[in-house]
């Protein structure tokens, strides 16, 4: 492992794209969580597959 001092090491160019991907994945997780929470109050009402 490179013993570079992380507190002053510049971020690599790929890093910003990595952060963009992780933000997208977080958004998907939040959307799924929101949908499940919605379901606990309203059932499936209005969503595909209505039960």
């Amino acid at each position: 492992m490179n013993p570079v001092d992380i507190r002053v090491a510049p971020r690599e160019p790929w890093y910003k794209y990595g952060v963009a991907v992780l933000l997208f994945e977080m958004a998907v997780a939040i959307a799924v969580s929101g949908y499940s929470l919605y379901m606990t109050f309203n059932g499936l009402g209005g969503f595909p597959g209505k039960h």
């Binding site: 490179n2 013993p3 994945e25 977080m26 998907v28 799924v32 969580s33 499940s36 499936l44 039960h51």
Partner: protein
């Protein structure tokens, strides 16, 4: 060495995604298989559990092999082997033979530790958390994608699905061999190859910090796979009346509701994992060390603190899940489950942001030990949940009687201010094997 680090990260992530897809593809088609072969509930349970039978021992072996022979060869061998057996299983008409073939295909799940080793060989200390998080988190989505997409694409035709999964696995294997490169530099590759012997394996297995990380991963990933198997049944039984009150009717309706609620934990645990690695990098960059007892001077001390926080949060949210269940308020239970899934990702991402830094000369062996043994949690926790008299208090029992001691052990093992890898069992016999980075 040829290649670029982002390309290597991409190859490892695609390979792992496809392996995860194959790993859980049997479960995605279990109703179709059950209908074809007239399986009983017991047979179905056996088929479901068989997916993780090979994982503990397989990951240990795969981790060692990736240090010894390099990640591209090891990963390609796993993809090609599992792919060929998957193709063979698509032509099988005997259930016993199909069962054995699917157990072999499930070996694809061991590929996780090979990719961890591969990524560790290409990324430096200041970006390892995000890189490992992106690899593991995105790859893990393969399990959810399989459950969601495979039955929609192939319907009940599981044989075509197994055929296509196997053929594409062969293509990915060829790509991995063609473009994959074992390490950023020859020096790094040689150091790791030399560390991959039996003595090096015994060294890693006996380090207190490695055992602490293994328990941390059992608290996070072990819990994640346990919850994947346990939660649908828990919601269907524990919140049956509440689900009916929401308008879901019949077995199929309750199953849809329970599955959707259960998926919250899985999705958050997988999709927040890159963020967990990013947070580990951020702790390191900012030098945050808020917890008592845990080392503050080590080059990677802030990452130890981040993982310690994650473990405490996992324990607290498990207690919260029991309390929410006992109150019987479904939305609260789901809200706690969202938090638990996120905290589990903090644990998984935090653990593998540390492993390559603690054992830089043996990343595969360490990943195999930590990522392999910990999966036993996937079998142990559901047994404890099921043995509780009240279905809601099983989480409390696991939190108090297992997670609390695990956390205490972690704090104890992470307290050394210099070279925690030097502390362990068989100290004199293994003296001199530590490759701990010197504090700068």
């Amino acid at each position: 060495m040829r290649g670029h680090r982002v390309e290597q990260l991409g190859i490892a992530t695609v390979g792992f995604f496809w392996c995860f897809l194959m790993w859980f593809s049997t479960a995605a088609f279990s109703p179709s298989i059950a209908a074809t072969y007239h399986l009983t509930i017991k047979d179905l349970g056996l088929l479901a559990s068989s997916a993780i039978w090979m994982t503990p021992a397989g990951r240990i072996f795969a981790g060692w092999a990736s240090d010894r022979y390099g990640a591209p060869r090891t990963f390609a061998a796993i993809l090609a082997g599992c792919g060929l057996v998957s193709i063979a299983s698509s032509f099988t008409t005997n259930y016993e033979l199909l069962f054995v073939e699917r157990v072999v295909v499930a070996i694809a799940g061991v590929s996780f530790v090979v990719g961890v080793q591969h990524v560790a060989q290409w990324f430096d200390a200041h970006e390892i958390g995000t890189a490992e998080g992106l690899y593991a988190g995105t790859g893990n989505v393969g399990a959810g994608a399989g459950a969601l997409l495979l039955p929609r694409i192939f319907g009940t035709d599981y044989q075509s699905a197994f055929l296509w999964l196997g053929m594409i696995a062969l293509v990915v294997a060829a790509w991995y061999l063609w473009r994959g490169s074992a390490a950023k530099t020859m020096e790094r590759r040689d150091v790791v190859r030399r560390g991959g012997d039996l003595r090096g394996m015994v060294f890693v297995w006996t380090r207190y910090i490695a055992i602490a990380l293994m328990l941390a991963y059992a608290m996070s990933f072990g819990l994640e796979i346990a919850l994947n198997a346990w939660l649908p049944g828990y919601f269907a039984r524990g919140f049956h009346d509440e689900i009916l009150a929401l308008g879901f009717t019949g077995v199929a309706g309750v199953q849809v509701a329970a599955g959707t609620f259960a998926a919250v934990a899985s999705f958050n645990a997988s999709l927040f994992r890159p963020f967990a690695g990013f947070m580990s990098d951020l702790f390191q960059r900012k030098g945050w060390t808020p917890l008592p007892f845990i080392a503050k001077e080590l080059p990677y001390a802030p990452r130890l603190h981040w993982l310690g926080i994650a473990l405490i949060l996992i324990m607290l949210s498990m207690i919260g899940l029991s309390v929410a269940g006992l109150y019987g308020f479904l939305p609260w239970s789901i809200a706690v489950l969202v938090a638990l899934g996120i905290f589990v990702s903090f644990g998984t991402g935090g653990t593998f942001a540390l492993v390559p830094l603690l054992f830089p000369d043996r990343p595969g062996i360490a990943a195999g030990f930590i990522g392999g043994i910990s999966t036993v949690g996937g079998i142990a926790y559901p047994l404890i949940f099921a043995s509780s008299v009240n279905g809601h208090v099983g989480y409390l029992h696991v939190a108090l009687y297992m997670f609390a001691p695990f956390i205490l052990f972690y704090f104890w093992a992470a307290r050394y201010e210099r070279h925690p890898q030097e502390h362990g069992l068989l100290g004199r016999i293994l003296a001199g094997l530590s490759s701990a980075p010197k504090p700068s």
